[in-house]
């Protein structure tokens, strides 16, 4: 969950740096070292700040009458500062310089729009006419001719990146409501021009971009309160005339009726953006606020009201936001954690979800949705081939839809393939590297498999299904038909695994499993491979549990406790003999029943189903539960040994539930009579035993108290007998 931390003031602003559009600062740029920023105001001054200290480290001004027209940047390689004043005059100075009049000066032949400083690439100068030069080239001949690329378009925004070893500059221009995007690769001296897809009734207000895997992602904030994403490939060598860039909706800045009129925004990580703007609910006065949005789940993560107003500018460096608030420059730290659905809705519990490998994107789940989106995408794909190739090259981060698309497509294609080819393809698909929507993909795969099973009754890929269920974190809702088919095929092993692994099996299915398990013959089960780890420790093999001591010896060993164990062992042994000695079911069946006992259920929903259980099966099941109960009670800690063995509470709950459901039948059935009377006797003995223990408790406590009371004497002669 993203969160905004405490804010603090970096500095106050002069009269020009106030609130409102047109006010504010010229820019804020990163300083030469971490934790430093360079602030350029709209007048004559640039200031270097150490953020954590909240103090200025240096301040430089140009002469009266001059005005800084381009934000001061720092050359990270030489630790020099570069500024342009009066559009054409370039100044370069170092930290120790004080007077800007006396530093290096070069007058250029054209107006500078901005200088971008890149960590490893040196500064790049963008002229207002669209010409681009690196600073080194420019300084060799300051008066060199600068071409005009964009004729009468106006640059709205620019940004520079390093792609491999070469600087890349992107800028957007506007002319008569049309927006253009230029991408300039400096080393290759190539310039691409794109036209931004038109949007009716709204126009872009603000841009930001990032580069990843050779693709520039340009995000645009439009005046219709939406954020759009545009992908621009770098690897395009075809010299086409003015391609049109299509955009896709990334985020709608509205939250329960109120709309955020964004003015500027920054990208925080792959799922989060921060937007500065004014939030206007219908009928209410709008208020300015800083917000963080999750683009994956389209949710507003956090917001902070800024009652004193802002200049509409927002910067973000080193996990800190910078913006003007009232008459000061405010810094807010933020935290942004990787997003999951749970986090997005505020329900993340770290401890409980360690083994959920990835979230499920619900949008891509349904089969029909998939088809629809596939078809619509297909038509788009037909329109421009180049985009399809582009998409398949994209990195894992940005390809949520296309991936399922390819899965969907694949599954469609495979619909009529031969069985072996079908399975091979699916296996290949599964062996692919982890994708963000892998769960969803697996769901689709299983659905496809099950559909095939349904259409072809002879087809049942037992091992393949087993492998998928065992190796992936699935849930019932992800593949609802799987268990139904397994029930139909009586694949008890798969059912056992499903019962152990799925957290959300409906009671109806649990009951169906129970019924199948009880009805299936022991002879049949013996031939089947079933996981016996839950029963192996207590069935038929006498478990030697003499060393149950788990307490730690502390400060001289605890004699009393040891003797207690010894005593109770003796009493227990005499107590329990005749009943529940032998397991009424074989180990395979017991293991299957244990899986049922372990599954989650709700009594209200299970009870009606249990009423339908045939009488003989109900008695058998009760007999097994009785056996477990006796086994449990044998141990001093009333737990059965082994992995996934049922707990005493589960046993008791199921026993009560079964008796509730089958009460009338049990009373009438002669077979059940003896069992019930034994059970009754056993429970009665237990109740008595515990009530006796309760009675002694008071006496023991009294004894202990007496023991303490006689202590205070400082001297006594006592008799001690050692035997």
């Amino acid at each position: 969950m993203a969160a905004l931390c405490e804010s603090f003031t970096l500095c106050g602003l002069g009269p020009s740096g106030g609130v409102g559009l047109g006010g504010g600062l010229l820019a804020l740029e990163p300083g030469p070292d971490p934790d430093h920023v360079l602030l350029t105001d709209r007048g004559r001054t640039a200031t270097l700040f150490k953020v954590s200290d909240q103090k200025p480290l240096g301040c430089w001004s140009v002469k009266h009458g001059q005005i800084i027209t381009c934000p001061v940047v720092c050359n990270f390689e030489t630790h020099e500062y570069i500024a342009v004043h009066d559009d054409k005059v370039l100044r370069i100075w170092k930290n120790k310089d004080i007077n800007l009049d006396k530093v290096f000066k070069a007058t250029l032949s054209a107006d500078v729009y901005r200088i971008h400083s890149l960590p490893n690439g040196g500064p790049v100068v963008l002229f207002k006419g669209g010409g681009v030069r690196t600073l080194d080239v420019l300084l060799e001949a300051p008066q060199q001719e600068i071409e005009n690329v964009i004729s009468d378009e106006v640059i709205k925004w620019s940004e520079a990146f390093m792609e491999g070893q070469q600087p890349v500059l992107i800028f957007t221009t506007e002319k008569d409501g049309d927006f253009f995007v230029y991408v300039q690769k400096l080393k290759m001296n190539s310039l691409h021009k794109y036209k931004l897809e038109q949007q009716e009734l709204s126009k872009p207000l603000s841009f930001t971009a990032y580069i990843k895997n050779q693709i520039i992602t340009l995000l645009c904030l439009y005046s219709n309160d939406s954020m759009y994403k545009v992908l621009i490939p770098l690897q395009q060598n075809t010299e086409e005339e003015e391609q049109i860039l299509s955009k896709s909706l990334l985020l709608n800045l509205s939250v329960s009726g109120s709309v955020l009129k964004g003015t500027s925004f920054v990208v925080l990580d792959k799922d989060h953006v921060a937007v500065l703007g004014s939030l206007a609910a219908s009928g209410e006065e709008s208020k300015e606020c800083l917000t963080i949005w999750n683009t994956k789940f389209q949710t507003l993560q956090t917001s902070k009201e800024l009652p004193l107003g802002t200049s509409g500018q927002l910067w973000c460096y080193e996990e800190k936001f910078f913006f003007t608030h009232g008459k000061v420059l405010t810094v807010i730290m933020y935290k942004c954690e990787t997003s999951s659905l749970a986090a997005a809705v505020g329900k993340l519990k770290d401890s409980q979800t360690p083994d959920v490998s990835s979230f499920v994107n619900w949008n891509t789940l349904g089969d029909e949705d998939l088809m629809v989106s596939f078809q619509s995408q297909q038509s788009v794909a037909l329109k421009s081939e180049s985009k399809m190739t582009l998409r398949s090259k994209r990195n894992t981060v940005a390809k949520v839809q296309p991936d399922t698309l390819s899965v969907g497509q694949l599954l469609l294609n495979l619909k009529d393939a031969s069985t072996t080819a079908f399975e091979d393809e699916l296996r290949q698909l599964m062996s692919k590297a982890q994708m963000p929507d892998f769960q969803a993909t697996i769901g689709c795969v299983i659905t496809a498999l099950i559909n095939r099973c349904k259409t072809n009754p002879k087809y049942y890929p037992r091992n393949f299904l087993l492998q998928i269920v065992q190796t992936r974190d699935l849930s019932y809702s992800l593949c609802p038909d799987l268990m139904a088919v397994a029930l139909e095929k009586k694949d008890v092993h798969l059912l056992q695994i499903c019962l152990q692994r799925f957290p959300d099996i409906p009671e109806e299915i649990t009951y169906a499993c129970l019924k199948v398990f009880l009805s299936i013959s022991e002879a049949y089960l013996q031939r089947i491979d079933i996981n016996l780890e839950s029963v192996i420790c207590y069935i038929d093999i006498e478990f030697n549990n003499k060393e149950v001591k788990t307490e730690i010896v502390e400060n001289g060993f605890n004699a009393e406790l040891e003797q207690d164990i010894w005593d109770t062992k003796i009493t227990k042994k005499t107590h329990l003999t005749s009943d529940g000695e032998f397991c009424p079911v074989g180990p395979q069946k017991a293991a299957l029943l244990n899986a049922v006992l372990h599954s989650a259920y709700s009594e209200t929903f299970l009870l009606p189903h249990l009423k339908n259980l045939p009488a003989q099966q109900a008695v058998l099941f009760l007999r097994y539960l009785y056996y477990l109960y006796v086994k449990c009670s044998e141990k001093i800690n009333t737990t059965l040994p082994g992995i996934r063995s049922p707990t005493i509470n589960q046993i008791m709950d199921w026993m009560c539930l079964l008796l509730d459901a089958q009460f009338t039948v049990m009373v009438m059935l002669p077979d059940a009579k003896e069992l019930l009377s034994n059970l009754h006797k056993f429970v009665r003995a237990q109740v008595r035993f515990y009530s006796e223990l309760n009675k002694i408790e008071g006496s023991l406590r009294e004894l202990q108290r007496l023991n303490h009371q006689k202590d205070p004497q400082t001297y006594s002669i006592e008799v001690l007998e050692l035997i």
Partner: protein, 755 residues
């Protein structure tokens, strides 16, 4: 087996001093501990946390900080302003250097152990270089106002973090300048209270961890000076803090007696991002936890309630055993009580005085568990106050009760006690021989005729006690191969023939005392020409029927001269030819080395078998005359002792015997008293070790099959001393923890639910 009349003594008013600081030896298996009275103790992890060395305290030498440097050298510093190096072989403060900055609050050694940094009252941090034979002032770091309460070196030794009141500072060691100053009370609004940084740790990634008087544990980025994390663990101060060597775990101690562990854990399973999480709270102490340490397998804390608690980290412990149990040490692993068996007196040793008590008596007899009516109450006879600031190293009362001896670091005192009816008169023996002091252990011979003084370099002095109140130095035993360590345990045989001594190197040397009674010559014999060997009395007595008082060998090869006592003060000189002289070797034998500390030893009065208890709870029996382990001892080693016996957590501190029943060995530790009957079979692991209560319920006939060698009684706890007064009369000295607690200042009041 039988019934004992037990004198249950609870009037030994010992209040152990609180634990002030702890220091784990880096990459070593030792823990140094300093108490509020200035005593310094060393515990050995490998020897089951045995309290290996004790340097008694000193009134003017408070220790505020301890640290190990240059491997195994131990330094302490305190409010006296001195830095003291401790000599761990001689068990004393070796040398002191004035820090010249007023009282010293903190000290830390750099990772290589070559430099010591001290934090002083005047706000200065000074560096001292550790050089062979001492330390040498190197330089001052940037001095500002405010006492330096805690210090920590960055593991790379380039920076030092120092905590003070309201702020902490970071020094660059090279330049000596303050490179960062962080206010710690920045976020506490309105209330203007001082925030004391009690403890500080500098992690290798540049994080500084502080604990302060507001109950917070905070993590700072020192370069930016920003607070990264803050955990409020307590409403009262967090006094101490220690980091594990891997820097993935921190233990803190608070003034409410609680300790907490912090662990650096991944935010999610498998995630690379890690965060400090408060994981385990413990409440083992009732008072301030002034010191904590973090060994590789355990959290160690020491409090003003005098307890040292060692809480093992179960995830770091491989198997269930000695290491896996929680240890609490409140009492020293030495005896502070000595008993005059014949006179039924008890001598209690306090830090600066001794108390002599006479036991009460009864005429009645009774059955098991009965308390007998007293016909005479116990009586406090004498209180002996030690003069001067030094604390007492050791003390002893002779079996007849007429001699009391004790030693401090620089002085040895011997007193003659006379009992006239109900009155007691005590007289100091004026001229005691000049010995190499301090004495680490004192032991009177069973006939009260001589005193054995354990001394430095493995030596044992033998003093002869003379009536009516004098003594003289007879001889000094030294191990044949030499030793640098002090002797800390002594045992003499009842017949006066053998003496066993254990030094800090854990070697047990046995000396033959019948071979040294070559006294200083009287009359015409020259005492200066005594060779290092001599004739034994017994041997001489075989020559003639008369007792021999003095003998001497005038010149090698000439034989031996001696005086025969004729009675009535007359003596008869005799000269024996050299051929008749016995082979006079003082050193008899050495018990085979065993790789663990000896916690107690005693020589059987009849068989002259030496019984040895080691800190790993093993028991050995060594026959002195035969110079080998006895058959029983070999059998014990073959069968192995009972698992529960080996898992006990406190060492055997005293062994004694029942002369009427030679097969019995009586031993005790803090939590049990045991009679070991060698004639019975050893219990195997399936048998119940503590079977006394079971046996009592069985009929006489059925008991025989259940009997085994260990007869253990846990009725008396915590047991400081147990001894056999006569055949069926025992004395047990207990010190109930509750009695100590009532002597301590009130702990911080904590609101408990429902009160």
């Amino acid at each position: 087996m039988g019934e004992f009349e037990v004198h249950r003594v609870r009037f030994f008013g010992l209040v152990p001093a609180g634990v002030r600081c702890l220091a784990c030896q880096p990459r070593g298996g030792r823990l140094a501990l300093a108490r509020t009275d200035g005593a310094v103790e060393v515990y050995n992890f490998a020897a089951n946390y045995f309290q290996e060395k004790v340097i008694p305290g000193h009134e003017t030498r408070s220790v505020e900080a301890l640290c190990w440097a240059a491997g195994d050298r131990l330094f302490g510093a305190g409010l006296s302003g001195d830095i003291t190096e401790y000599d761990l072989a001689l068990l004393c403060a070796a040398r002191s250097v004035d820090g010249c900055g007023g009282p010293i609050w903190s000290m830390a050694a750099n990772s290589s152990g070559t430099l010591l940094a001290i934090g002083c009252e005047d706000g200065s941090v000074k560096l001292f270089q550790v050089v062979p034979g001492g330390i040498q002032f190197e330089r001052n770091l940037d001095r500002r106002k405010g006492r330096i309460l805690c210090l920590s070196w960055h593991p790379s030794d380039t920076h030092i973090a120092a905590g003070s009141i309201d702020f902490l500072r970071v020094f660059d060691v090279c330049s000596g300048q303050t490179v960062q100053r962080i206010m710690v009370n920045y976020h506490v609004l309105k209330v203007r209270r001082e925030c004391i940084v009690w403890s500080i740790a500098f992690l290798s990634n540049g994080t500084i961890v502080t604990s302060d008087s507001f109950g917070r544990v905070q993590f700072w980025d020192w370069q930016r000076g920003t607070l990264m994390e803050s955990h409020t663990v307590s409403t009262s101060a967090v006094l101490s803090l220690a980091v594990s060597e891997e820097e993935d775990s921190i233990v803190v101690g608070t003034s409410t007696g609680a300790t907490y562990q912090f662990q650096l854990l991944p935010v999610k399973m498998g995630s690379l991002e890690k965060r400090w999480v408060r994981t385990k709270p413990f409440q083992h102490h009732t008072h301030d936890v002034r010191a904590v340490a973090h060994s590789s397998t355990a959290l160690i804390s020491g409090g003003l309630d005098a307890q040292l608690v060692i809480r093992p980290l179960m995830e770091k412990v491989q198997k269930k055993g000695y290491d896996a149990a929680l240890r609490k040490f409140t009492f020293p692993h030495r005896r502070l009580v000595s008993c005059a068996r014949k006179a039924r007196l008890l001598l209690f040793q306090f830090s600066q005085h001794l108390e002599l008590w006479r036991l009460g008596s009864t005429d009645e007899t009774g059955k098991d568990g009965e308390v007998l009516p007293l016909c005479r109450m116990p009586e406090h006879l004498v209180q002996l106050k030690s003069k001067g600031p030094e604390h007492i190293y050791c003390s002893c009362v002779s079996p007849c009760g007429s001699w009391i001896a004790y030693s401090t670091a620089s002085r040895f005192h011997l007193y003659r006690v006379q009992y006239e009816g109900d009155g007691v008169s005590i007289k100091k023996v004026p001229k005691v021989p000049k010995l190499l002091l301090p004495a680490y252990q004192l032991q009177f011979s069973s006939d009260s005729g001589s005193l054995f003084v354990a001394s430095a370099r493995g030596s044992v002095h033998v003093l002869q006690l003379l009536e009516p109140g004098g003594c003289k130095h007879l001889h000094t035993f030294r191990p044949p191969s030499g030793s640098s360590e002090a002797v800390y345990l002594l045992a003499s045989s009842a017949d006066g023939h053998w003496l066993a001594a254990v030094g800090g190197d854990w070697a047990i040397h046995i000396y033959d005392m019948k071979c040294f009674k070559v006294g200083a010559g009287a009359g015409g014999m020259t005492p200066t020409s005594l060779p290092p060997w001599g004739a034994g009395c017994q041997w001489v007595q075989r020559i003639g029927p008369l007792p021999v008082s003095h003998c001497c060998i005038p010149r090698a090869g000439l034989g031996m001269g001696l005086w025969e006592e004729m009675g009535g003060g007359h003596r008869w000189p005799r000269l024996l030819p050299s051929a008749c002289c016995p082979p006079a070797l003082q050193h008899h034998s050495t018990v085979p080395m065993y790789n663990c500390a000896v916690t107690a030893l005693a020589i059987h009065p009849i068989t002259n078998n030496l019984v040895i208890a080691y800190s790993d709870q093993q028991l050995f029996e060594f026959s002195i005359p035969e110079k080998q382990y006895t058959a029983w001892s070999r059998m014990v080693q073959n069968c192995g002792l009972h698992r529960v016996w080996l898992e006990r957590d406190s060492p055997i501190t005293h062994i004694t015997f029942n002369p009427k029943n030679p097969s019995h060995i009586l031993l005790h530790d803090t939590y049990m008293f045991c009679v070991l009957d060698k004639s019975l079979p050893l219990p195997d692991n399936s048998a119940l070790l503590m079977n006394q209560s079971t046996l009592k319920q069985l009929p006489e006939t059925a008991r025989q099959r259940q009997l085994h060698a260990f007869k253990i009684c846990k009725k008396f706890q915590p047991l400081l001393y147990a001894d056999l007064l006569d055949e069926n009369c025992l004395v047990m000295v207990e010190r109930p923890i509750m009695d100590i607690k009532t002597q301590l200042p009130l702990p911080i009041q904590q609101k408990k639910f429902g009160t």
